[in-house]
Symmetry: C2
DNA sequence: ATAATATCCTACAGAAAGGATAGGAATTAA
DNA sequence: TTAATTCCTATCCTTTCTGTAGGATATTAT
């Protein structure tokens, strides 16, 4: 029941780019250095974010990555769902197909659907900008 | 970000005992058969529930397990926390110590604390009885 | 052109966690 | 005494996690 380092690093990457992209691109080497995260692993993770349409890239000198939209347009949910594959707490609530062959009689399914929903609700209402700004209410 | 089979099976075990304990004890063999779950694995899981104080046991013939309190006195949170070890989404919000050495400056910590809380809130407000009764609102 | 700087691609590898199984010791009821 | 049952804990196989490695490809500055 844990968010893996892949997802956590991806979030750090997105935050770092949000903070450091001026008009140019942010390189993975710079992110790696600032965030103290392994370069080669970040290359893999950034590749996922890029292929998933969250970033644009530019190769070569002065190249790197930049956000495709404003930081307040990214929800934490979409970032984590992309990098983690899914945030579903159990297999049977993945991909909104909701259930195995016993779904009709499964007494625990509603529980998992409800849990999935509170997680999704929470994370989809927090933006990248919110995290960068330290703007997370309550707690 | 998944609840493991250990936690899911533990929940099934608790539900099965809740349903099937009359005045006597429920054996693991019976649970295994009714729920179609591996006996030897269930023995391990039930051991955790027992040592954690959720069940009482009786050895020998006609032995087995029974609940220590009424089904509506168990929250799903306590069952899953016991068997999973923790439901915290990241290492640094385990055990209410909240944080690593960088906690003071970590921008993502509030996010994880908040996520932990919505999960905990949801699961602590649903009882074993609710699940057995199919009494989970919404969705 | 060329050199330097980046991304991009994908296979591999060690460590940790997940998901059981195995075998028997201890206890209890009939 | 015997059958049934919990109890204990070591082991094992598989999958996932967490990276690493090495190079191919593209871009820009000079």
């Amino acid at each position: 029941m844990m968010v893996s380092s892949k997802g956590r690093y991806a979030l750090q990457v997105m935050m770092d780019i949000a903070k450091n992209e001026g008009d140019g691109y942010v390189s993975v080497a710079d992110i790696s250095e600032r965030q103290h995260l392994p370069l080669k692993y970040l290359e893999v993770i950034v590749g996922i974010l890029n292929k998933g349409g969250m970033l644009s890239s530019l190769r070569g000198k002065n190249g790197g990555y930049r956000l495709n939209k404003a930081p307040d347009e990214y929800s934490i949910s979409e970032i984590l769902n992309l990098t983690e594959g899914s945030l579903a707490p159990v297999e049977c609530v993945k991909g909104h197909t909701a259930g195995c062959e016993n779904a009709a009689t499964c007494m625990t399914l509603p529980l998992w659907i409800g849990l999935d929903r509170v997680i999704e609700d929470y994370l989809s209402n927090i933006s990248l900008q919110d995290v960068v700004d330290g703007n997370i209410k309550d707690f």
